[in-house]
Structure formats: C-alpha cells, structure tokens
Amino acid sequence: MDIVVCVKRVPLTQEVDLEIDPQKKEVRKDMLAYSINEWDNYAIEEAVLLKEKFGGDVTAVTVGVEDDEEVLRRCLAMGADRAIRVEPGDLSLDPFVISRILAEVIKGVKHDLVLTGVQADDVNDGAVGTMLAEHLGLNHAAVVTRVEPEGNEATIHIELEGGTDEVSKIKFPALLSIQTGINEPRYVSIMGIRKAAKKELKVVKVEELGLSEDDLTPWVSVDEVFLPPETEGAEIIEGDPGTVAEEILRIIKEKGVST
C-alpha cells in the first residue's frame, strides 16, 4: 500500500506573548520555536504503521521553505521512504493554493492512500485535506480515528461529537484527515534523524509544476490580524501560592462544594 502524507511545520505559540508584525497580517515569527503540526505527527505515524503491516512506500510532502525540511527529516527518521518539499517562493498561501500545489505533486506519486492532519495548529483551517481530495477526485473522510484496510477498501472510524464514532467503509484510493490519538507516535532521536539523512529529499520549485496563475491565486486573504477583544475576562487571583490556594478553597466553598 503506497501512502502519501502531507505535513506542515508550525510555530509553537503556547506560553508565548505573541506580537503582531507591522503589516498586521501575521504574528512576528522570528522568536518562535517550531515543530511538526501535532495532527501530522499522528498522520505520518499511521502511514508508517500501515506500511509496516501491509508493505508499500511512504512519501512525505510539504509546501514550505528550506527550514521546513526539518519536519521532512523527522518523517524520514520515523520510517518514510522519501520526502518532497515544494518551494513556494514568495507566493501567498491559502488552503486553496496549498491544496492545488499538493494535488499537482501527488499526481506524480503512486498512492492508494493520502493522509493529512485534521487541521494545522497555526491557521486552524481544517480545509486543505478535503480540498485536496476534491482536486484529486479521491474518496475521502475527515476526522478519522481508526483505519483498518482490507483489500482495496478500509473500515474507518470517523469521530463525531460527544464520543460518538461513525463507522464507514471507504474504497481506495482515498484521502483521510487524521485525528490526534489514533496511535502513539514513535520517539524520534537525533541519531535517527542523522541516519535518515541518506534518504531522498527532493526539492521542487513551484514554477516547475506548470500551474496556472489562477491556480496560484489565493481565494481567501487576511485583511488584518488582531489580539482578542479585551472582554471582561477572569478576575486574577494574585499572591504567593499559599495565599492563592486559600483563596481558591474559599471560592470553592462559597460555591457550595464541600471539600
């Protein structure tokens, strides 16, 4: 079973005081640390697990700058056979453009299955995966928490709200957007990454794909980013941990909970 996995490198923003760039279109990213998008980490693990069970090739693809190769090397260390980076130059990217580019690349790679994450942890669009399915004419399912292939189809679990799963059958070739928790992503060591350096990492310039200007024009663009409106927000309890603890216990009691 040949599998293509789409992965993205995203900035880590928890515990960071985000600053907006002067154009007000993005946050300042120069100070941020990056990592593989959490959902994509589960997707690449799932691909490698399926490959270990059923054989076949795993290709990891990203649309991104040279620094983003870090996540491709990580995928290679986890067990991907090859990786492709598409250099977007100074294109503005939105889910339409990204999915259009990915579709063009994936057309040239044998695939029974294409995996993406449910969403990217930076823009939280949750759109690229199923758009890509439409470009490629693939059967698809979103928010998948289990994949059990059998011949040329798979039984899948789709996560709905409130702990309900939808069980469905889907025919290959198919695209699945993978939800966190589907597996336990393996640990990647520095040694592992070094060893995987021998594997193929191909860089393609977006111009080489023969896409039209329409294909590379975003459908949605950011006017402005801004900090959340200052609503009332929480009343902050100040003081040393002892004082704070006393205050928390007082509030809990006041609300009618006996501790």
Partner: protein, 322 residues
Amino acid sequence: MGEIFVVVEHRDGELREITQQMLWKANELCQSLSNTLTAVIIGGKDEPFIQELTERADRVIVVEDERLKDFNGDYYKEILYRLIQERHPLLTMIGHTPWGMDFGPPLSIKTGFPIATDCVDILVEDGRLKAVRQIYTGKLFSKVSFKESDGYLITVRSGAFPPDKAGEHKGEVIKQEMPADLPEVGKEFIAFEEAAAGEVDITQADLLVSIGRGIGEEDNVAIAKELADMMGGVLSCSRPVVDKNWLPKYHQVGTSGKSVKPKVYLALGISGAFQHVAGISGAGTIIAVNKDKKAPIFRVADYGVVDDLFKIVDALKERLAA
C-alpha cells in the same frame, strides 16, 4: 435580492444546535443585506423538524430520500452543488463540525466559490462579505476577505452565535427529489458507535479538577488525582491527556468528549481551545491556573491564576492536609 443558504445539520431526527446558531446569524445578515433565508434540509423521508424550520426561514428546501437518512458528505456535496447552480445563493453557511469539514471544502472546490472555515463572525463591510476567524488556537483573531466571486461559503464554529430559536417567518416548504444522476459515493455508512461508559461519570460531579497538557508527563497525573481526592472532586482532562493514554477517554471534556456542568471547574494547564471550552459552558464557576497570562482560557474563566500549576497544587494540598 439574493439568498443565503443555511445547510441544516441533523442527526437521528433531531436538529443539531449549530443549525439554530447559523439561522440566528443568517437572519441578521439577511436584514442588513436584504437577502432571503433558505434552510436546506438533506435527509430521510419526512424529517420531523421541517415545520419548526419554516418559522425560522423564508423557505425550506427539502431534498429527501432513504439514502439521505444517514449523513454522507458525498451526497451533500453533489446535491448542494446542484442547488447552488440553480439558485445562486450569495452565501452558503455550513457548520464547522466533523460533517461540515467533510463536505464544505470539497464543495468550495467543486463550485469554485471561496470558503472561509471555522468562522466566529461574518461581517458586511462596504457591501462585501468578510469573516472573522481565530488562529493559533484562539490567541489571535484574523479578519479575512474573499476573492471576488458569485457566491461564498463559510463554515461556522459552534457556539459563535446564540442558539436563539425566535422566528416569525412563515417559510414555504419546497420538496425536491434526489437527483437521479448522482455519481456513485465512495463511502458507505455502517453504524454509529457510542463510547463505552467509564468508572466515573464526570458529567455528574460538583467539582472537577481538570488537567491539560500542562501536566507535563504521565507520572504527574497521580499528583492531580490525589488533589481531586483530597478535595472530594473528580478528575477530568483535555484531549491531549487522553490522546497520550494518560487517562481513559471518559475523563475527557470537550466537543469530542463530554459536556460537563460542575459547580466549580478547576482547569490546570489547559490553554482553552474552543473544542475544550465548548464542553464547560455549563460550569458554574471556572478557575484556571496557567503559566501563560495570554492563554485563551482566561477569557472564559471567572478566576485566573497566572502561575506554575504544580506550585498551586502543592499549596492546595498543604492547606487541605492541615
């Protein structure tokens, strides 16, 4: 004068709350744009909520067929594509739910209409539609505009608008057959499967001590469990704690876990992603402890503590033991 479509989300003969929320916003938009509101039901024969929707929309289009009884995104996409071709709605609103995420983006590609996903607001500025989204898990807002087009698609975050049911419309019902020439669908529904009940029921607790990724490692879960026991509360958690198998699924709070309604919810090391806070809207009082003073959880909490959760947990235990 154009139309606004609201794609009705329903399951097992019941409307999902997101439908009410979208109708509320669509009504407001229709007033400022002088558009008319069309609720689109794709479902089985005689879904029981058709009448209710006539009070909330100018018209209710019902496409019914036994094959549409269970959701299938491929059918939704094809049917909506044809309805859009036929009626040219300016805006089609879809829930940003697992189902909306399944057919919304493909419908955008198929119609050529741009889509903005997971939107918390929809605005009209200088006669043009704009959408407001959250990025970086709610730490930042982003206002977006669309490429010029004959129509637009927006998926709406649940909880973004009130579930208000008031409506004085007397909408007409337009029943349509399922088109005969639909392509074969690639996905076949088998069954719904409910999560198994657990040892504890977090929905019944008065006090929840809830941990997030900030708990750091598996061994630390015991520290929080001990605190919950000392306080007479129940331990719950955010999704990453379950994803890592540090706690069983029945502890999880949020859209894909449980909605809870404790008197007090003590959130330790939880950032406050919307999928989490959607599960605690019924909580009486929310107290959040987080190292990051900009964590979105502080926007929904009643009380906040900006500190290391372990320091606070230790101090709480000390006071309780004394």
